[in-house]
């Protein structure tokens, strides 16, 4: 089995990873247009080279309280069927190469909304990386 490359990033102290093929690009952006009345995890809209992109706050998606943002926020832009959606994350990490066989079952202790967004857990040298289901993360919350 060939190895899979993951782009990693940190949200609320936890390391997450997305398969690099699902990531369109990563960029920092500071001006978001708020969307009144939108679900809480919608962080706002921004202009990406003439395209209007919705930024979703991954913190809120994972059930954490939103954090007041100062300065530019990191966007992981995920390309799905026919639109690009941005995930707001705290910090961008490295790209890591992992064998699918190294995946471990999701820890039972993980609960809440996060559980539905995670497909696998990979132990890295110093910490655990949770592989994120891009589609689930980008989909609007059912609640």
């Amino acid at each position: 089995m060939s190895s899979v490359r993951y782009a990693t990033f940190e949200v609320a102290g936890q390391l997450f990873g997305l398969e690099v093929g699902e990531v369109q690009e990563v960029l920092a952006f500071s001006e978001y247009t708020p969307v009144p009345l939108a679900p809480g995890h919608v962080g706002g809209l921004f202009n990406l080279r003439g395209q209007v992109i919705a930024a979703l706050d991954l913190r809120v998606r994972l059930g954490e309280p939103a954090q007041e943002r100062t300065g530019p926020a990191m966007n992981v832009i995920v390309r799905t069927d026919d639109e690009s959606v941005s995930l707001l994350v705290d910090r961008i990490g490295d790209v890591v190469e992992l064998e699918p066989s190294a995946a471990e079952p999701i820890p039972d202790t993980l609960s809440g909304p996060a559980r539905e967004l995670i497909t696998a857990a990979f132990p890295l040298a110093d910490r655990l990386m949770l592989a994120l289901d891009a589609r689930a993360a980008v989909r609007g919350s059912e609640a």
């Binding site: 009345l37 939108a38 202009n47 209007v52 959606v85």
Partner: protein
């Protein structure tokens, strides 16, 4: 799908040409090129049945159309060719060299005839005997394959110089030069092309080729997808242009700003050009209507004359498609319900033949299409009664509306006034669908009607979908985009000016030229905190919007600018929010949300019904608590209060507009004669005011209205103080407002004094009977 783009110059240079002929020519030229290929291929492989079938179809089509267009020569020659092809197709004969030659000659003659038609619209006097004879010979000679009487080799007689017929495709019209001199259709002088000036020997070969650069060469069929893509790209370019212009405005760099200016102009021109490629005349849509009207009027016994005005008005093709159904529905509805039967028309003193007029024209950057009939008109009373019967509204709610509002009830879902349901229209899915379809494309529909005179439906359609003229407003430090289409006017509310925000049952309203305009605060509608900056003396603005056929005011903090914006779809996450129609990128590169005016109106529970319901609810409160909000007026030196629930609107009439009829005073108002009662007269105090206008309180109910003239409108207040008795005539009591004694008007008496025939709604009568 394909759309053809005719070169405009070539188009107009042959002004007598019918569109149909043009289309026929373009199509035929294309088919003929294919035909050449097919025939040559067939000659090599005479058994290719699909090719044979294709050739047969092409010739058959040209024959059919030329017959229809009365090009008899074309018809003759294609008919001959078709007979031969039929034999080949049926296997009665095999295509040999001779057959192919003959067929290719037929194609050449057809081409020559088409060229001739394109030049002057006539077939000319080309001699066809030879070619037809050849075809017949080919058919006749076929049963006996061996050469008999007729000579079989090269059937070239005198007309065709070319031996190698396959080469004919290159120079179609060069051989078989007819005697008649074709009028030179110079492209530089379009209007001068009079087809009836054949100057002998005039056409030089150069002009000949120039004139042949006609429809086939100057129009191109373009995939609509490509046009859509171009339109999208131009949209992006418009955005970039906006950003560029904005950026250079402040840069102070002359070279840059000049370049930006130039970019600005070119982009506008390009945008216009691309939009034009997508434009089609509305006649495309209308062409089917005469038949629809004819069939329909025959089947239901109407006599209808259909008049079409402005058929050349052009619309984006996607919009054309979108208004097709609504327009057809309105036309059917007009014939079915609008126009009366001939007998009824004669009885009403009208021409038995009804007139249905379709009118299209440009207005304020929109296309307006009107469907007007001179039929019986729409009776607001009937509409109101039907709305009540259908359970859409209560009688009280209808009573509180004015005639225009009542008419617009026909656009409500589940409404149909047809006395009997016919299979033509009147299934109750009509007008609301018309409205929905139009609003979906950013358009609007309205109607005007005069009972006995006729009805006019008016469709307002934007020129294009992708780029929208927008008004940028600011609320809570964020910018929002309002489609200019839905903005009626802007009102500034500053400190203590005339326009003020007042509250009716807690809901904000604004008195705008005497009319009570319900207000929506954008900030609150978007979930923001309740703020009333105007109470701190801060300026606010009201954008008067038109949503679902009625007006409301949107309160915003600031009005910034107008801009052309490109509508971008909302991310799927945000579609459920419901307040936004899309997003766009403004000149400074920031994303801004486009407000969905209809959704705002809906979410804020405006609407006639809701407003009327609020009034009715206020009325119910009156009954239980005998408390109401009061409109305080001045009648000479007295203060007279009128229950606000009995105020439909406030008007100011010019003094000279008040006319006398017998002992009464009236004023012409919205096509009605409105009785005017001067309260000073009723209350026995003489007004000495001399002013140019007469302020009046208008009360409408059941299609009737009265105006109560006062000397001034003072205030709207809560009726909190206890009522005392009053001995004054026409008064029902008195109270203290703002430390001043204010008399309460006996509305029933006042109205009856103004118009004894006035049908007061039951609750008013009951109320006042109880009170007295």
């Amino acid at each position: 799908m394909k759309a053809s783009i005719p070169d405009l110059e070539a188009w107009w240079s042959v002004e007598d040409f019918d569109d149909v002929v043009q289309e026929f020519l373009v199509e035929s030229y294309e088919n003929l090129d294919q035909l050449d290929q097919d025939l040559v291929a067939l000659e090599r492989d005479p058994t290719a049945r699909d090719r044979l079938a294709s050739v047969f179809r092409t010739i058959h089509t040209i024959k059919g159309t030329s017959g229809f267009l009365a090009f008899s020569k074309l018809e003759q020659v294609t008919h001959a060719g078709e007979s031969l092809l039929a034999r080949l197709r049926d296997g009665a004969q095999v295509l040999d060299r001779r057959g192919a030659d003959v067929l290719l000659r037929v194609v050449d003659v057809v081409r020559a005839l088409l060229a001739q038609i394109e030049r002057d619209g006539q077939e000319g006097d080309m001699e066809l005997g030879d070619v037809i004879a050849e075809v017949e010979a080919c058919i006749a000679g076929a049963p006996a394959p061996a050469p008999t009487a007729k000579p079989t080799p090269e059937p070239v007689t005198e007309t065709a110089p070319e031996a190698d017929t396959a080469a004919a495709a290159a120079e179609p019209a060069a051989p078989a030069e007819p005697e008649v001199a074709p009028a030179p259709v110079a492209e530089t002088a379009p209007a001068a092309a009079a087809p009836s000036t054949p100057e002998a020997g005039a056409p030089a070969p150069a002009e000949e080729t120039a004139s042949r650069r006609g429809v086939a060469d100057t129009s191109v069929r373009v995939d609509v997808d490509l046009l859509d893509k171009l339109m999208r790209l131009v949209g992006e370019l418009v955005l970039t242009r906006n950003q560029m212009v904005r950026a250079t405005e402040h840069s102070g760099d002359h070279t840059m700003s000049r370049a930006a200016q130039r970019l600005n102009l070119i982009t506008s021109e390009l945008q216009e050009g691309v939009m034009k490629t997508r434009m089609q005349p509305i006649s495309h849509l209308w062409s089917k209507l005469p038949r629809v009207v004819r069939d329909l009027s025959n089947s239901i016994g109407r006599q209808v004359r259909l008049e079409l005005e402005g058929a050349e008005t052009e619309l984006d093709r996607s919009l054309l498609e979108a208004v097709k159904d609504p327009l057809t529905h309105l036309v059917r509805n007009a014939v079915d319900h609008g126009l009366e039967s001939p007998e009824d028309r004669v009885k009403a003193g009208k021409n038995p033949e009804g007139t249905l007029t379709l009118r299209a024209y440009h207005e304020h950057g929109h296309v307006v299409v009107e469907v007007a009939d001179d039929g019986k008109g729409v009776d607001p009373k009937l509409i109101g009664a039907t709305a009540v019967k259908r359970g859409l509204l209560t009688a009280e709610q209808v009573a509180a509306m004015d005639a225009d509002e009542v008419l617009r009830l026909v656009f409500r879902a589940g409404f149909s006034t047809a006395a009997k349901v016919s299979n033509v229209s009147g299934r109750g899915v009509g007008m609301d669908v018309v409205r929905t379809n139009l609003e979906a494309i950013g358009g609007a529909v309205d109607l005007r009607s005069v009972v006995g005179k006729g009805t006019t439906w008016r469709l307002t359609i934007p020129l294009t979908l992708a780029i929208v003229q927008a008004l940028i407003v600011e609320s809570a430090n964020e910018r929002y985009v309002l489609p200019q289409m839905s903005v009626r006017e802007l009102v500034s509310v500053e400190g203590q000016t005339s326009a003020r925000i007042e509250y009716v049952s807690g809901a904000p309203v604004c008195r705008l030229r005497g009319r009570l305009l319900p207000l929506v605060r954008l900030n609150e509608a978007l979930g923001g905190p309740i703020e009333r900056p105007e109470e701190n003396g801060e300026a606010i603005y009201i954008a008067v919007l038109n949503g679902e056929g009625h007006e409301f005011g949107l309160v915003v903090d600031r009005v910034l600018t107008t801009e052309e914006v490109v509508v971008k779809p909302l991310a799927s996450h945000l579609k459920d929010v419901g307040c936004f129609a899309g997003a766009t990128i403004l000149g400074d590169g920031r994303v801004s949300l486009i407000l969905d005016v209809l959704a705002l109106a809906r979410n804020a529970h405006l609407g006639n019904a809701e407003r009327a319901a609020a009034a009715a609810a206020a009325m119910a409160e009156v009954k239980t608590e005998t408390r109401d909000r009061l409109l305080v007026t001045r009648v000479s030196d007295r203060r007279v209060a009128i229950p606000l629930s009995m105020v439909t609107r406030l008007e100011e009439f010019p003094v000279q507009a008040v006319e006398r009829v017998g002992s009464r005073e009236v004023v012409q108002y919205r096509g009605q004669i409105l009785p005017v009662l001067r309260l000073s007269g009723l209350l026995g105090s003489w007004s000495e005011d001399v002013s140019d206008t007469v302020p009046a309180v208008v009360y409408s109910s059941g299609g009737h209205s009265v105006a109560l003239a006062v000397d001034g409108i003072l205030d709207i207040v809560d009726d909190t103080a206890p009522h005392g008795p009053s001995d004054g005539d026409g008064l029902s009591g008195s109270t203290v407002i703002d430390d001043k004694v204010t008399e309460l008007l006996d509305m029933r008496r006042a109205i009856m004094a103004a118009d004894p025939d006035f049908q007061l709604p039951e609750f008013v009568t009951r109320d006042y009977v109880e009170a007295s």
